[in-house]
Symmetry: C2
Subunit: 232 residues, 2 copies
């Protein structure tokens, strides 16, 4: 019997926002893997810090934090080889995923390498989208709104066109692209409807109408532009 690969969404940050299933799986895990930056702590690991049992085996998948470069696939290939060994020995491997495993997550790279060889379970999680809307106290979209989710990393003209054509938007991965996003939303007359949220659901959560937002944004921040009918 091989072990099971379990991709677990751990939600946006507050451990209270793990699902009941995720909470149970993490508390009973014997082997956990998670993405980690080359310096500093793993966000996914931090979220479940109070839940992980003592004596658990931990496997950080160290991915250099370069915001605009795609981390080398070799990292995931090496991680998949290491996790294969644990799975082959019959150990279940719990992979902690920020938010939801299949929503812009790096879990897909392990999934693509391992899902055909091992039993695999995916536990969906609360994405940052819902947490940001809740933090902003602002419904995202209503009725037949089109909601477009765009990474702020897109080229300016592309981003401008996407935002001009949609009813509602969520703009992710702001970081150093924040000034560009603000410029575009100003140009399009959307700034007065836009909300900025950083670190949604965490104690350091910050919420601002976009026009009153600070000049710089961390990576874990988002701007939402609610649909006209959803705007309160």
């Amino acid at each position: 019997m091989t072990g099971c690969l379990i991709g677990v969404g751990v939600g946006p940050g507050d451990p209270d926002l793990l699902t009941v299933r995720a909470d149970r799986i993490v508390r009973s895990a014997s082997f956990v893997a998670y993405p980690a930056p080359d310096t500093g702590q793993s966000f996914a690991r931090q979220i479940v810090d109070g839940l992980i049992p003592t004596g658990v085996r931990e496997y950080p998948i160290v991915v250099p934090m370069r915001t605009d470069r795609f981390p080398a696939q070799e990292i995931y290939s090496a991680a998949a080889r290491d996790l294969s060994a644990a799975l082959e020995s019959g150990t279940d491997v719990v992979v902690l995923c920020e938010g939801d495993p299949f929503f812009y997550g790096s879990f897909m790279y392990l999934f693509a390498r391992l899902a055909e060889r091992f039993p695999t379970e995916i536990v969906p999680g609360v994405s940052s989208l819902g947490a940001v809307a809740a933090a902003a106290r602002q419904p995202l979209c209503a009725r037949s709104d089109v909601l477009t989710i765009v990474p702020a990393t897109l080229p300016e003209e592309d981003l401008r066109q996407r935002l001009a054509e949609t009813d509602a938007a969520a703009i992710m991965k702001l970081g150093r692209h924040f000034p560009k996003v603000r410029r575009i939303l100003d140009d399009l007359g959307l700034s007065d409807r836009a909300q900025y949220v950083a670190h949604a659901s965490l104690p350091q959560q910050a919420v601002h109408a976009l026009q009153g937002a600070p000049a710089t944004a961390p990576y874990f921040s988002m701007v939402i532009v609610p649909g006209v009918d959803a705007f309160v």
Copy 2:
């Protein structure tokens, strides 16, 4: 002291996919409200059937199930009046919301009417998006993909254009619009990447590659078209 209005996302269907916070709030509720169709059961209420304490006061907000007509705002105004009375008497009112409260939900109509008068809490939930991707065992989007969420109710040409221009898509509220959606995806050459999921996370969950999907789709079903880099 007035009561607190609490909008609780109860996730896509499996009660195991409530968040830890939602589970706790529902189990200790004394007053719950939820949307309900004019015939049949409330889906949000069904999800938490095993969690609701005995003796809880229940308030179904009956909204006629007309798929293409927006339910009259008078229904929500009347519900808000009734819930105000409970809130004014100091009772917390838990409103059960399918998926996430601020993601295409009707909770916004109560929120818009009550949030300025009463303390309000929003508990984000797992949306159908993550549950559908998990069910299909298919990552939705990667890296700098643009993800467009479109209701199938849009006019055909509008829907076609949205789907032609995006990297990844989720098409919701299929119902009787399913043939139109299939036609468009066929025309755009996207059908071979598309997955169809009905009743994600529930025992009756159905998952098909779009080309092998049944001819008719229920309201609680979705088609996802993953981004090219996410497609496994």
